[in-house]
Symmetry: C2
Subunit: 421 residues, 2 copies
């Protein structure tokens, strides 16, 4: 059993090593980081048998522990999932390197030339649950942006994560990058998590990857800043000026394409003007697709629906369940979303530009959409390549968090013996 | 005496009002914010007699309390300082409005058009000490960026801040903006500060304005994110390839132009190659200008210097005192700065591009300069207009913090009935 002192010693040691590695990574040539990721991908392929054997150990542990089928599924690796890990590593390797980019530059009357230049953030802590592939994905994105990373995988995926981590380290070694660039906390003890959350001297940002329980704990306990979203309670508002066919397609897709992702619609808001024209067609479509519709009193007459309880609004179902409600125009929708939303993603269905502009202007979710499915709330769909998660905080990173969002910047100022008068 | 419960009630009430005001400010037309600031400037001019009378009360209180002459000077207002406040308000009014700016936009193969649009941060908390003008400066910058602000002035400047705050509110009222956009904590009790630092539900960012004691307290206690620098331990490194005349001018300016600002040089690092060529001329120049030179052993032979104690390196003197040391080339300087620096501002004096590039690449201070005085570390000198402070953290805002740095962003995504496959 790891006590608090041991955990502190462990994280201090890993933190110092990470800080040293980060200082070196900050000026590592892009080609070397790319080569390290490609070498890691090769190692994952070469070590496939070892990774699967490690995963079998985890699966046996999970069965003994009585993990749910959903968790067992997230934990499980097979040849196709390993191929996915390899593909992700190669995709991140191929991405543009964000470090060193001149974000802005200008001249001053004093003769100074000022540049704002992108730099790595430093050290990222990633705390995740059962998916072993996060070891590779998060490690790769952090490295791409020149950051050192301290990974703390779920206890269920302990052996799998360790096997994948060994491949990441092989990639670093093969290219002469510091091994401490990607470290894995070598213990299942939870005391190490608590210590990471307090490690402001060693870790610049914590990214939790997992369910509401994990994210809520991290947000409540962390002294280190956190990039995360607690919930994705995504709304779609069907305005009176919506195009019916677009609305039907988007609503169905937003709920049913995949129900378990944070960009899935959880609440449908229907303008009374839309309802007057088209009735409850959107509710009926969802119902017919097998969605349990929990509706407000004025929609309760629609056959096959159930009455929503008050806590069905502002709830993340992550399932074939959807709340629905009539509202008075865009202002009614805005008021509802302000009260019940989670600042993740909301979409308006309308052909009216002024109404869309009002929706965009008066809401402050990380992502606001028009005539598009909320399921597009994703780093890949945004063209950012891989993402480490989606953030709903207002500081630094919002929306999908890719390599670029894992950077900071510094100012480079050039003069010629320039002094201030 | 305000107890903890009262303080919580007070900050909760102010926080809710600020959040409501912020929601409205987020879409306030730029012209209205500008008009509010101009009206506030007019009010300050019109209320000059009342402000000076309030300031006289504070000065009397300060004398009774035995404040130092330096603090009394920071506290004191006169006609010229009031003119300065008016000028600052008008300058911020005239600045470009950052809200709504499209920071980036791109198209996706799916047909989606994605924009990253600048938004206000929300609610800023500003905690300051004796300078009453911060009431106007900080209030104006926050308003410009569409943020509500909760100001907590020092107890010494209580009446002066209240009188200036009344003018800011007059400006808001005159233009129909919510009065709660700029609130001043109406008590001298310190319990209110502790409550602000914990108010994560109400305040998005805290900006402390004051000495190391205040900033250190805020950084240690705050649960709300903080934009600040604890110290400005600025270094200048005179490389072997420096131009002698530029070096002499910059070094003298960086130390002596104003010693009390965070951009003042506190430590001079001289390359042994520079010393071999030019001797201790930079040390002698500073000494002749009246600076107490605390030097390493290998410079101790220079007449009129004193031997540096170990804690003179990494020390912010804010006075006519400077540490100095010989180092082995740019790598010696980098190693010294990594160990003793405060990530604020460092400058290299060299004519060699590769050496400058190495300095820029291997250090991660918020501001790195070449052949320029560290005294340029200032929002005005960067062309940002006014600044609310300088940040040395890595997240969100670094370097001078002006209106633009007090913003966040959101994504606006436009489709045409676009669904995800």
């Amino acid at each position: 059993m790891l006590d608090e002192t041991d955990a502190k010693t462990l994280i201090d040691r890993m933190g110092v090593a990470a800080r040293d590695a980060a200082a070196e990574l900050a000026y590592a040539p892009p080609a070397r980081k790319e080569a390290a990721l490609l070498a890691a991908a090769d190692a994952v392929l070469a070590q496939q048998a070892e990774i699967l054997a490690a995963n079998a150990e985890d699966l046996a542990f999970g069965r003994d522990k009585g993990l749910s089928p959903a968790m067992m599924d997230r934990l499980k690796l097979d040849e196709s999932r390993i191929a996915g890990i390899v593909e992700s590593l190669r995709a991140v390797a191929a991405q543009r390197d964000p470090v060193g980019e001149v974000i802005a530059e200008w001249d001053r009357p004093t003769g100074l030339h000022i540049q704002r230049v992108r730099t790595p953030l430093g050290v990222i802590g990633v705390i995740y649950e059962s998916r072993p592939n996060v070891t590779a994905d998060a490690g790769a994105l952090c490295l791409k942006a020149g950051n050192a990373v301290i990974l703390r995988g779920g206890s269920e995926s302990f052996h799998s994560s360790r096997a994948i981590h060994a491949c990441m380290v092989a990639g670093l070694k093969a290219t002469g990058l510091p091994e401490a660039a990607i470290q894995l906390v070598p213990t299942r003890e939870r005391a190490a998590v608590a210590e990471m959350l307090r490690a402001v001297a060693h870790i610049d940002v914590i990214v939790p990857r997992g369910g509401k329980g994990l994210v809520g704990l991290v947000q409540a306990e962390a002294r280190v800043p956190v990039f995360a979203h607690l919930e994705g309670i995504c709304h779609i508002y069907a305005d009176g000026a919506a195009d019916l066919e677009k609305a039907r397609a988007v609503v169905l897709n937003a709920k049913t394409r995949r129900t378990g992702i944070c960009g899935a619609m959880e609440c449908l808001l229907i303008d009374r003007a839309f309802y007057a024209q088209y009735g409850a067609v959107l509710v009926e479509d969802l119902r017919d697709a097998g969605v349990e519709m929990r509706v407000s009193a004025d929609l309760a007459h629609v056959p096959g629906t159930v009455r929503a309880q008050p806590d069905d609004f502002g709830r993340e179902f992550l399932d074939m369940i959807c709340a629905a409600k009539l509202v008075d125009g865009v202002d009614g929708a805005i008021a509802h979303i302000r009260r019940y939303g989670s600042s993740h993603t909301e979409s308006i269905l309308t052909e009216d530009d002024a109404t869309a502009a009002r929706f965009f202007e008066r809401l402050d979710s990380a992502i606001l959409m028009r005539n598009a499915s909320t399921q597009f709330a994703d780093g890949g769909e945004f063209g950012m390549g891989a993402e480490i998660g989606i953030a709903t905080g207002k500081l630094h990173a919002r929306g999908p968090v890719g390599a670029e969002q894992l950077t900071s910047f510094k100012y480079i100022v050039r003069g010629n013996g320039t002094i201030r008068s």
